[in-house]
Amino acid sequence: MSVESLQHEELVQLLELLCEDRLDHDQAARLEEIVLGDQGARRMYLEYLSLHGTLYWDAARGIDDESEVLEVGGAATEPVDRSPAAGRRTLVAVAVWASAAALLLAVGLSWRPAEPSAGPEIAVADPSGLPIIEKKDSAASGVDTGLTRRQPATIESTPAPQMANRVEKGSTVERVVSPDAVVPESKSSVNPQPSAGSLAEIVGFVDSRLAAQWQDYQVAPSPVASDAEWLRRIYLDIVGHIPPSNDVIAFLKDRRPEKRAEVVDRLLDDPDYVRHSTTIWSNLLVGRVERREVNRPAFEKFLRGSFARNRPWNEVVGELVAAHGRNDQNGATNFLLAHLNNDATPATAITARLFLGTQVQCTQCHNHPFNSWRQQQFHGLSAFFKSTRSKPIRGTGAYALVSGPFEEPPFYEDRRGVVHMAPAGLGGQRVDLKGSEHPRGELARLMTGDSDPRLARAMVNRTWARLLGHGFTTPVDDMGPHNPPSHPDVLDRLSQEFVASGFDVKRLIRWICSTRAYGLTSRMTNRNRIDHPETSGERLFSHVYTKPMSVEQLYDSLLVATQVDQATASDWESVADNRRRWRSQFVYSFETDENDEAVTFDGTITQAMMMMNGPLIREALSQQPGSVFHHVVHAPGSDIDRVKRLCLAALGRFPSSSEMRAITEMLPLRSSAQARQAPVSGPLAEGLQDVFWAYLNSNEFITVP
């Protein structure tokens, strides 16, 4: 063997080690020596790395299986005019592409990115009442980057027939739980602006975009969720608890195709929708930790009223931002009262994060490329809060949110010590607040007006994430050029429609829950294994991502499953009180000037022990009249039926046959002569307790499927 070929062999071996990340420092030094010493070796190095990188980039996908086996010395083939599909990279590419498109849109060029089919033109109304602007797809034809090639030629899915002609309802139901839940919905939702896209159009668009991506990635969506799985999911997502047994049975029996759509409508009108939405938003807005300045009941009353009337989201946000007055009389004031400490730093940060999906609080993250931008954003926004104070009202325990006239813009020092003035502003719009009597009113106007799309985008992203298990960005509230969304076209479209609908939150939920993606099972298949954000980083929505129940969902679901509160029919406030007390064992405040808190709940030993031995479970297994367990023990029926009922109450499904066999083998079932006698007692009753305990403690119980 010649010296050259020896060296060549060594080089290849070193390059192989490099490709597998196994090269140690000595070997790296040797590699350098060879590469720097010889031009041929340098070429070889680059060719090898380029091969490695291209394989990584293209993930070797998109190659057809048809060709013949590669033979040593085989004849050369003409290069094909076709590049491997970018596979995994498409996501990033599309995202980049869409932000490119966004830039185009920004200056008013009407053009929709990568929209494959011309379709009907969609007229979108500007909520401010400006003339209707038509969007055309044809403008896109002049731009070809090679990316459009990957888009399928036609939209694959046609909207499901039952969706096509649905009228959106605004009726309310009779069950009165919340004092505020029966107020008729506000006008904007009863009379949706006629120019907004129809449910079928919007859902069709989302479905086609997702389907196109599944094709690009060569994944197949999981099958449609079973009725039991879907019902459990929609209940937990919309009303915040599992479905009661009766609802499950009725739903399983129903054979009509429109039944799922009807459940969505029914649940959106359920008082528990109001309750669940209130829980979610009060946790986000004022946190779970009690604070002296916050009158939680008054705040929750404000939120309940808003969700019950389905007030437009921009109106609700505007009121939260501009609120003033006493916190017991005007519940909305509690949001800012919770965050006014430390020069309103938390107020600024949370306003940007929750409503605009933007993180501005991190002004000292030295390594952040957008740091100077953030600092400016932060101070521009905080200027609006500078004259806001909280004032205790003597002898009442109440606080007032007062806001004086604007004095002068604050100054701040950047990290180099240079002092800047911080003119009030939001997202590039500056405002002269001089002489303004109510700076926060100005802010509310800016945030909720149509010049800033972030309010809508943040809400769409958050709602999508809440329902599908992942948002278009991670984290859901850190959007911006540095963190492009996974599905920019879907996010754009839903945001536009959300604005056009008059910020109708219920409609937004209805759209998302009507998508094909939401209706799929959360089981993964061999053909969409890569769609797993935690392990692959991909978010394709080719199956639903499971979510752990929140503290409140778990508590409420335990009550539905066990009905232990039936004996003590409680009012709204005391139920809420019990729930707050129960969850307080999981909530911890860091007591810093940023008002951050932690919930030590997700899958900890503490939680497991609470489920195994806690008082609520003990109560659930006692035969308290009115409870599910009491009913199971006392109702007529076979012993097998009793196990079925317990499974249904806890998991919203019937046990599989193998599960039933395994469980009944552990029970002292009675002979057929006694088998239908009730009540059950002795060892069998204890055995049934064990069954119920096991179902309630299972991983399946705490999962939103």
Binding site: R43, A93, L105
Partner: protein, 191 residues
């Protein structure tokens, strides 16, 4: 409401926007050269995960500076300059004793990579052909190896083969591909 104004506040509120034509052109170039910029970075930072991170940082800067790019000049060279700077920044952040390669090596490789960029791009097209000629079993293995987050080691665990045998197989396949690409390139060069 169709002009959904996406904020372009990257450089503060005043980020200036060039007129419509050049912008489209810029976007075209930007998209077209994504992979090649990545490969350029990878030649200097041979770990794809790290290279990807640097690439993302570079993309942000490229976007930010797009009004400074003169159309008609060499986009790749311009973008690689930015990428190169990001590589240096990355190396600076890393401690010296953790550098796999010396500064001299990185400099040399970077300049070679720009010189050979077109040639390497051509090879990539041949690679598509060569991949399609692999035996199914080999192609599956290489696909598994290069799917997101995998490595030779994790694939070995996944398919339950001894790790060294997987390394050997991957090495054999990569060599085969390299030789195949070489042949394709030569065949094309000598009509």
């Amino acid at each position: 409401m169709s002009e959904f104004r996406i904020s372009t506040e990257i450089d503060g509120a005043e980020a200036t926007m060039p007129a419509a034509g050049p912008r489209e052109e810029f976007i075209k170039l930007f998209t077209k050269y994504q992979r090649r910029v990545f490969l350029f970075i990878l030649s200097q930072v041979p770990n794809p995960v790290d290279a990807e991170e640097i690439h993302q940082e570079a993309n942000v800067i490229i976007w930010r500076k797009f009004d400074r790019f003169e159309l008609g000049t060499n986009f790749l060279a311009w973008a690689c300059q930015i990428a190169n700077y990001e590589v240096l920044k990355y190396r600076e952040r890393q401690r010296r004793d953790r550098h796999l390669f010396s500064d001299e090596f990185v400099r040399q490789v970077a300049s070679d990579a720009i010189e050979q960029a077109d040639e390497l791009e051509q090879r990539r097209q041949h690679l598509a052909v060569c991949l399609s000629k692999l035996r199914n079993k080999d192609r599956e293995l290489i696909q598994q190896r290069y799917s997101a987050g995998e490595s030779g080691k994790s694939v070995a665990e996944l398919i339950g083969r001894p790790i060294n045998s997987v390394y050997q197989s991957l090495s054999r396949i990569r060599r085969t591909l390299l030789e195949c690409v070489n042949r394709q390139t030569q065949a094309q060069a000598t009509p």
